[in-house]
Point group: C2
Chain length 395, copies 2
């Protein structure tokens, strides 16, 4: 078992009345002039943005707005945010949206406090020492950025999509009202649940398989997400199921499900190249890659995949055939993905076959020209990445 | 489903090497002159106290020692600590021990920052506005005080044992090395696990029974504790099982297992009178009261007790007889308590029959002379408390 640290200081206000807390919470964490950061679309149309701005102003806070964050958030928007914060003397960033908005806010928050180029943090040239304080009003359960220490930014120069983790980037508070997720379309909802489950699965598939409490909690999260997605696809306004998914998104990525294990994260890394190249929805990209990853690596620890098959996917354990049971778990996951409208390979994700040249480009970037391995459950070389992408390229 | 807040900011350093972090962590949270607070006995004998003091001093920190905290920690010791902190200019309190030591530290930490009498907070006359920062080196997994917002202090004048909750009392950090629990005697280990499980059960038995993720996590904690206690009773030096219990103690009481539910806490309140009157071990007292509480209240929500019986205790669900299944769950819990050396009634706890006068005194104090009800699953009047104590008085 690995020694671990666990640090999840974000104050969560969860429920139908949680938005009413926004001004009190910003003031509690020393905000006076607030950058309200958002994407566009639904936060505006639903009236949420107006409501939040009104609540802040009624609470005596000044606001500056910056919208237009897109999925796979762009470095150019981060630069715009940094300049705006400096010009306006912003001392708090409030995100209204999902993971892309919060990730963009994290990059702005450290960029404001740094004299150099913020991209330095993402390419490992520097480590951020300070952040503006941040909070969020979450509208999309998926990325888990509301309680995590990480953010992922896409640099349009070269389509580079890179993550960066720093404990200082944790949100001071997260406001979560499940009603705000009622209008999420089925595809986004399913992709979100896929991302949530994958955050837990990346931690679960570990050779440190002796932390039984962490495993039991992880399985509880996975089974609950698996149940609830069918309920919300049937009835998008089911508060109870929406609430489990929203809270599950936070628990899946606030490190709770990884205490004592070594995360793998290869599927995430392989997917980053897909969404950078094709601007695919992250959760759907994960579903398109995972089955190929799983079949490529399961022999590294068959027992782990058996446990997943039995405890998460409900496969009957054939004690005479562990490998067969493990494979049935992967097949069950594919059926689950299809049943919620997710792809299980790259052609299903992008709507056409992928070319060898595109695979080679993804391998090149994912391996940093062959200099970087990925994963822990099985350490993947550039050659392994190519095999997994090729397997995922088959219909 | 209830709206909820979740706030568990304590930085946890967990594992064999965690103690080495102590000086760094105290300095991170602005400590310079540290009150090292402990009980006696094992922390001294094991050399842990010496090690921690050496690490602090090597880290350039000054230390003041205050030992002698007893189980069911006393207000007189709290007063002694407040006076010492003021005299010495202490700016950080580090507890080395279990829940009693940490609870005592919490009372000292708010007492130092308050001009009035610290007991005011416990009797509801005032609310603490400031605490000295605190951290802990945990040696007994049980009370969960290392991540909770609460503390329980016994005022020797009148044997009053009262709890007080305040978010400001959360530890800045908690250092947890499971090896430090190897020497805990079997009775203390079992009582600790009983306390841990009860912290989750107090939250689990709720009429807000629609938060399925919280329920699934709670059941994961309960089942894991139930498995691991047998392993450590057989082999006290089993690191893996000790680690699950230690981490389980924190997760059971950092509010994770209560997100969206209304806690009951009647068993804890009924037990407080037992340990105040007989100085009983808290966990053992809980085991002595719970079966009588459960049989008295289960009809309020039979389905909840069925779920507990099936998902936690492994009882086969007899769908034709929910009440029978619920009762089998309570019986299974009694067998579990006996199998780990815990009592299931008051005579087994105190080694003799309890008198009617003693019961009347406990009812009087638990109900504040008939003016205070207890519990949520079933709201208990003084008359209900008397019935439960009387049922628990039978061998």
């Amino acid at each position: 078992m690995k020694d671990f640290t666990y640090y999840a200081p974000t104050e969560v206000a969860f429920g139908k009345s949680s938005e009413e807390e926004v001004a009190r919470l910003v003031k509690k964490y020393d905000g006076h002039k607030v950058l309200v950061h958002y994407g566009g679309g639904s936060a505006v149309r639903s009236g949420l943005l107006d409501k939040i701005c009104s609540l802040l102003e009624e609470g005596g806070l000044r606001t500056v707005l910056l919208g237009g964050v897109v999925p796979n958030p762009r470095l150019s928007k981060v630069h715009e945010g940094i300049a705006l914060c400096r010009k306006e003397g912003v001392d708090f960033i409030l995100s209204v949206g999902g993971g892309s908005v919060i990730d963009s806010a994290k990059a702005i928050a450290c960029g404001v406090c740094y004299e150099g180029e913020v991209w330095d943090f993402y390419i490992g040239k520097a480590d951020a020492q300070a952040y503006l304080p941040m909070g969020c009003v979450l509208t999309i359960p998926a990325a888990g950025s509301e309680m995590s220490d990480s953010s992922v930014i896409t640099n349009e120069d070269g389509d580079l999509k890179i993550g960066y983790s720093n404990n200082l980037s944790r949100q001071k508070f997260a406001i979560m009202n499940p009603e705000r997720t009622y209008t999420l379309p089925p595809y986004q909802t399913a992709a979100g649940v896929t991302d949530i489950m994958m955050h837990t699965m990346e931690r679960y598939f570990s050779h440190d398989d002796d932390m039984s409490l962490t495993d039991a909690v992880a399985e509880a999260v996975l089974r609950t997400m698996k149940d609830c997605i069918f309920t919300v696809l049937k009835d998008p306004r089911d508060y109870r199921a929406r609430a489990q998914i929203m809270w599950g998104g936070s628990l899946a990525h606030n490190d709770l499900t990884g205490c004592g294990t070594t995360g793998d994260w290869a599927t995430h890394q392989l997917e980053h190249e897909l969404s950078a190249l094709f601007d695919a929805t992250h959760g759907a990209g994960l579903a398109a890659v995972w089955p190929s990853w799983a079949r490529y690596v399961y022999r590294e620890n068959v027992g782990r995949f058996v446990r997943f098959a039995v405890n998460v996917m409900g496969v009957t354990n054939d004690y005479t055939d562990p490998e067969g049971t493990a494979l049935k778990g992967i097949e069950a996951m594919e059926r689950f993905y299809h049943s919620i409208g997710m792809p299980v390979n790259i052609p299903e994700l992008i709507g056409r076959d992928i070319t060898d040249a595109e695979i080679d480009e993804m391998v090149r970037k994912c391996s940093l020209d062959g200099t970087r391995a990925q994963g822990q459950f099985k350490v993947l070389t550039a050659r392994d990445m190519q095999c997994i992408y090729r397997n995922a390229a088959r219909r």
